[in-house]
Symmetry: C2
């Protein structure tokens, strides 16, 4: 097995809505597309710390991690194999401040997110949240057990 | 960010017990220690497919993935940075056949696994399962949504 990059994604929930952001025109990959908050892990970085760091950098939010939800592999570009891990996160505090990486944002309900073809890459993750929300208490978080 | 290896772990549940295995004396890393089923992803491999492949190779079991539970980063050795993803899996079928990688096995309850200091690396993952099992239906699986 060869080495790969590891990317993380954060599905941030606040008041039953989820943050999506539009990639800046300056982005080298997939400019102007709508996505969730994403980023790459640093070497030596615990993945969940990387999620908190990327969310802070890209939104100025402090969040709590509820649970990892979904994983996958794709080529972000030639010679750029990437495993990604998507985490369900809950907003804790902070005022939204986008950095240069994104030009717009929206808050969507789960149904709006699932029905949006521009977010098809994330549809299964939104569906998993929709299912988990039927059962889990609102304050569930894996961080209590670590 | 540099590239890393990606390892997967499978916490396999059958009849309310969880499979642990003893690493073979031939293993280059952490020989003779007790662990869960683990492995490394191949390049181009979807992580969840990699879990099913490793479980099949090391136990002969077919399993279903319930949910990813936990993630982390460690050095498996010098120049061997590894991100790992631990999945909760449920036994579906197959007779247990260990391959050369393991010399013994045991089935433990969650309480036994959590109380076992030899499994301290996995304690938080067992605790997350213990908590999730209070809420999720027995047939919960992310594979329905993918």
């Amino acid at each position: 097995m060869k080495k790969v990059y590891v990317g993380i994604g954060a599905l941030i929930e606040k008041d039953e809505k989820y943050l999506i952001v539009k990639r800046s025109p300056m982005k080298d990959f997939s400019a102007n597309s709508w996505e969730i908050i994403t980023g790459r892990l640093e070497i030596d970085e615990q993945p969940e710390q990387g999620v908190l760091r990327e969310v802070k950098e890209e939104t100025n939010f402090d969040v709590e991690i509820t649970l990892p939800l979904n994983t996958g592999f794709f080529y972000r570009g030639e010679n750029f194999p990437m495993v990604f891990i998507i985490y369900w996160c809950k907003y804790v505090r902070g005022e939204l401040l986008l950095n240069w990486e994104h030009s717009e944002y929206k808050w969507l309900t789960l149904v709006e997110a699932i029905d949006n073809p521009e977010l098809h890459v994330f549809t299964s993750s939104f569906k998993i949240i929709q299912e988990l929300k039927k059962y889990l208490p609102k304050d569930f978080s894996i961080s209590k057990f670590k």
